[in-house]
């Protein structure tokens, strides 16, 4: 029996009233790979941040090699041989791999880059990395950068490695290579914790799996003794009844037809992979998926904020019955076509609203350019602001209060209120209830349902599966930029959706 490299006992961490980690106990042995599995907000990152010294636990104990330790800073964590590889790399672009690896090391004596290079080569050879120590970071691919990050922690003598979603940015071939390296590290006696959402990777690489849900550790199982279905159930939990009023769909008409949309970001990474779907009038189409699976890019490409690499986005006008092509058009051109498209973006104060402007000025964001004079008309926006404050019960000192002074729920009411006020035919909302209390959330659900009843095609990007299943009519699941399935929200189960969310391999599943 191997000994524990690291053991956590009864760790609890609270942020205000929110319990991010509740009484979690875990251990990783030397020469073992443990997968940490859980939905967004289940507390994985918080837990790992406590091991790497970014947060300090409110309660509980941490043991390294059987001895209790206090980790109160990243420096302590490094001292105990813990190395974390973050999802977002922290490298200096203009430096070479070796320079980045040794950066920040405080060794005694004169520093010799040649010796450092030799050490880097030695580590590369030992674990089978393919890395040129003289290559500059800006010339590297994403996977090479990740290699630099891993060697960086190994160079510092890390015995316990934590990898935060390491495969999210990798191609399948690169993932395979990474796993090979991880296995060699395991043979070398390193303890490895890997955070991931992808079930097939969990099955492929790990010895044991720990599942977190809503800040609690649901269970730790041996990978050999479990299967994907069991893990999914542990991850999403049993269904909770929410009692959201859901009306029946009346006369659905295809309003928005998206076909084979592909999108690559600036780094050339494929974010949207051959996405096709239809949003119908009088229906709420839910979009489910792990955060960052391409939801934001999908909505932004429909709204005209980014232009897709290929594919088509068509809009059927209910008045003229004409079909308009929205591809490669900016928001103004889309509006000029007579397309009444409203969009509640994820980043409310950074995109949907201007934080330092008052409610009135925020009301005219969409409409300020109407009218023939060179001057803005504030009367209508003021009336609209007053109307929204009254109808949606926005708590604010006045309509001329800057929106940054409002609470999260009230900010969202202002934004949703404005977007609905333009009587849209398509309403897209990304995480509209994130950070909102129960009452505000239900108010938003009811507003969306009301829009649906009046014939609007509503697209709702959500993260809470219970909400998606009760609010929506159909749910499209995105995994890794691909549509992994479209299901009927009235009959689908939570496990089914959860399974699709983590399904990044294989063919498409049609409803």
């Amino acid at each position: 029996m191997q000994e524990n490299a690291i053991e956590l006992r009864n760790i609890t961490k609270r942020f205000g009233n929110v319990v991010a980690n509740n009484n979690i106990s875990l251990s990783v042995k030397k020469g073992e790979i443990l997968s940490l599995l859980g939905e967004n907000g289940s507390g994985k990152t918080t837990l790992m941040n406590m091991i790497s010294g970014i947060y300090f636990p409110d309660e509980g104990h941490i043991y390294i090699d059987g001895k209790e330790v206090v980790i109160s800073s990243p420096k302590d964590s490094f001292k105990y041989g813990i190395g974390m590889i973050h999802q977002h790399f922290k490298l200096v672009d203009l430096f070479t791999a070796t320079e980045n690896i040794v950066l920040g090391l405080k060794e005694k004596g004169r520093f010799d880059i040649k010796i450092a290079k030799g050490n880097v080569k030695e580590i590369s050879a030992k674990y089978g990395f393919a890395l040129d120590p003289n290559k500059k970071i800006y010339e590297m691919s994403v996977s090479e950068k990740q290699t630099v990050e891993i060697i960086k922690v190994l160079y510092r003598g890390a015995e316990i490695l934590i990898l935060d979603e390491p495969t999210a940015v990798l191609t399948p071939q690169e993932t395979k290579k990474l796993f090979k390296v991880l296995k060699r590290m395991r043979e070398d006696g390193k303890a490895i914790i890997i955070i991931t959402h992808k079930l097939h990777e969990v099955m492929a690489i790990s010895d044991r799996v720990a599942v977190l849900r809503k800040g609690e550790c649901i269970g730790v199982v041996n990978t050999a003794e479990t299967n994907e279905a069991e893990l999914t159930e542990m991850m999403v939990g049993k269904k909770i009844e929410l009692n959201i009023q859901r009306s029946e769909v009346v006369n659905p008409v295809d309003r928005l037809v998206v076909e084979n949309v592909n999108y690559y970001d600036k780094e050339g990474i494929k974010i949207l992979d051959d996405i096709s779907f239809t949003a119908r009038s009088g229906e709420i189409l839910g979009i489910a998926g792990i955060a960052g699976s391409g939801q934001r890019e999908l909505l932004e490409s429909i709204a005209g904020l980014i232009s897709v690499s290929s594919g088509s986005i068509k809009y059927n006008d209910p008045v003229t019955n004409e079909t308009e092509d929205l591809c490669s058009k900016n928001p103004v051109q889309i509006r000029d076509l007579g397309v009444r498209l409203s969009f509640v973006p994820e980043d409310r104060l950074g995109m949907g609203l201007v934080a330092n402007m008052d409610i009135v000025d925020n009301m005219m964001l969409r409409s300020y350019n109407q009218g023939k004079t060179a001057f803005v008309e504030r009367k209508e926006p003021r009336d609209l602001a007053e109307r929204i404050i009254k109808q949606l019960e926005v708590v604010t000192p006045s309509a001329t209060t800057p929106v940054r002074q409002l609470s999260g729920g009230n900010v969202q009411k202002v934004l949703v209120g404005r977007e609905i006020a333009s009587s849209p035919t398509v309403l897209m909302a990304a995480y509209p209830v994130r950070g909102l209390d129960i009452n505000s959330s239900y108010l938003i659900y009811n507003l969306l349902t009301k829009q649906k009843d009046s014939g609007v095609a509503v697209v709702f990007v959500g993260e809470d599966l219970d909400v998606l299943l009760e609010l929506c009519d159909r749910i499209m699941v995105i995994a890794g930029g691909r549509v992994s399935g479209i299901v009927d929200a009235r009959t689908a189960t939570k496990e089914e959706v959860g399974f699709l969310m983590t399904k990044t391999d294989g063919g498409l599943t049609n409803e």
Partner: protein
């Protein structure tokens, strides 16, 4: 893990941002700051020079208001600073750090001087002044639009770019002075001193009144432009969040270039006033750092053109007053600068107390018990 209890201690001083302060309270804070500044300066003056601080302050006041002539000189200084402050405001409101006002002013001045030099009395004076005005504004615009264009297309750093454009403008002026002045001197005398062509005429016998009126009109126009026009609204949105601007379909590149054209254009106007209305000559030091002081004026007024009349008056008043006490009391210029520094420090520093609230630990606890 008892050794961690220290982390939970509340710090002695705890600073929080205020939601907002009632306007009259804010003005009380500012008034207190000015009084405090005067008291501290008084102590410093007494300690350093043994002069009576009250007399020193009186002299300072006389510097700007002593005689009718002094008032006009003060107003002249005021409108130049105000005009350039107005110019940088749209750019700063858009979060475009235009520190090239100096160069844009110089280009405007160069344009005006060139017209005066080459055209002289070949066309009627009114026509000449009109041509000069247009050329000055155009040159200022171009000088402002070059960095804006690079920023919009290639996202270059506008701070460095506009700064370097200042030096180019200075060198251009030196170059033209060498061409224009026959004996190779690097100083340009008064242009058209005989014909006075291209000089802004006196109004009601006052040499500077024309310039003052032009700046007054510009102030009101810019206030309206920023607050009530669609373009002004676009500037605010782009300045606050480019993402929001994209979201509502504002063409960010266009707004950047257009706004810098306005900013540079008003700078060009200031250059025109300096040459045509005030100095009737041109030199590389014509702007004399006003492009940088203007940034402070604009920020102090929180980008409100009307308030800028006040803030630019404050700066000009302090500058003239400092010069006055230096000569009256035969003090070293530095003493005057120290006084100016103290007053500015208090005035700018008091904004901190308007924006933030300071909570002390002990007081906090007592409140908790009560």
């Amino acid at each position: 893990m008892s050794n961690k209890s220290g982390r939970k201690h509340e710090p002695l001083i705890h600073i929080t941002k205020r939601a907002s302060m009632v306007w009259y309270k804010a003005w009380i804070v500012r008034a207190v700051a000015i009084v405090a500044a005067l008291l501290v300066s008084a102590v410093v003056i007494t300690l350093l020079t043994k002069d009576n601080p009250v007399e020193v302050y009186a002299a300072m006041f006389k510097g700007s208001f002593g005689t009718e002539r002094k008032v006009w000189v003060m107003l002249k200084e005021l409108v130049v600073l105000l005009c350039v402050s107005l110019a940088v405001t749209p750019a700063f409101k858009m979060r475009f750090w235009n520190i090239g006002a100096e160069g844009q002013v110089l280009m405007g001045a160069l344009g005006a001087a060139a017209c005066m030099f080459y055209i002289d009395d070949k066309i009627p004076n009114v026509a000449l002044i009109a041509v000069m005005l247009v050329v000055s504004i155009l040159l200022g615009m171009i000088w402002g639009m070059i960095p804006a264009f690079f920023k919009a297309i290639w996202n270059t750093n506008e701070t460095l770019f506009t700064l370097m454009m200042n030096y180019v403008a200075m060198q251009l002026i030196s170059f033209f002075i060498m061409i224009w002045v026959p004996n190779g001197s690097s100083v340009m005398g008064t242009i058209n001193s005989a014909t006075e062509s291209g000089w802004l005429p006196s109004l009601f016998g006052q040499k500077y009144l024309f310039s003052i009126l032009i700046v007054a009109v510009t102030t009101v126009a810019l206030f309206i432009y920023l607050k009530y026009s669609k373009q002004g609204y676009e500037i605010s949105v782009v300045g606050e969040s480019e993402n929001t601007a994209r979201y509502v379909g504002i063409n960010v590149k266009k707004v950047i270039i257009r706004t810098m054209a306005i900013s540079g254009g008003i700078c060009g106007l200031a250059g025109f006033l300096l040459v045509s209305g005030i100095n009737h000559t041109v030199s590389p030091n014509l702007a004399g750092g006003v492009g940088f002081t203007a940034i402070m004026v604009s920020w102090l007024a929180k980008f409100n053109p009307i308030v800028m009349i006040l803030t630019s008056f404050l700066i000009v008043f302090l500058q003239i007053g400092a010069g006055e006490i230096a000569t009256t009391f035969r003090l070293n210029e530095s003493v005057a600068d120290i006084v100016t520094g103290i007053i500015l420090f208090f005035i700018i520093g008091c904004e901190f107390f308007v924006q933030y609230k300071i909570n002390f630990r002990s007081k906090h606890k007592e409140e908790g018990h009560a």
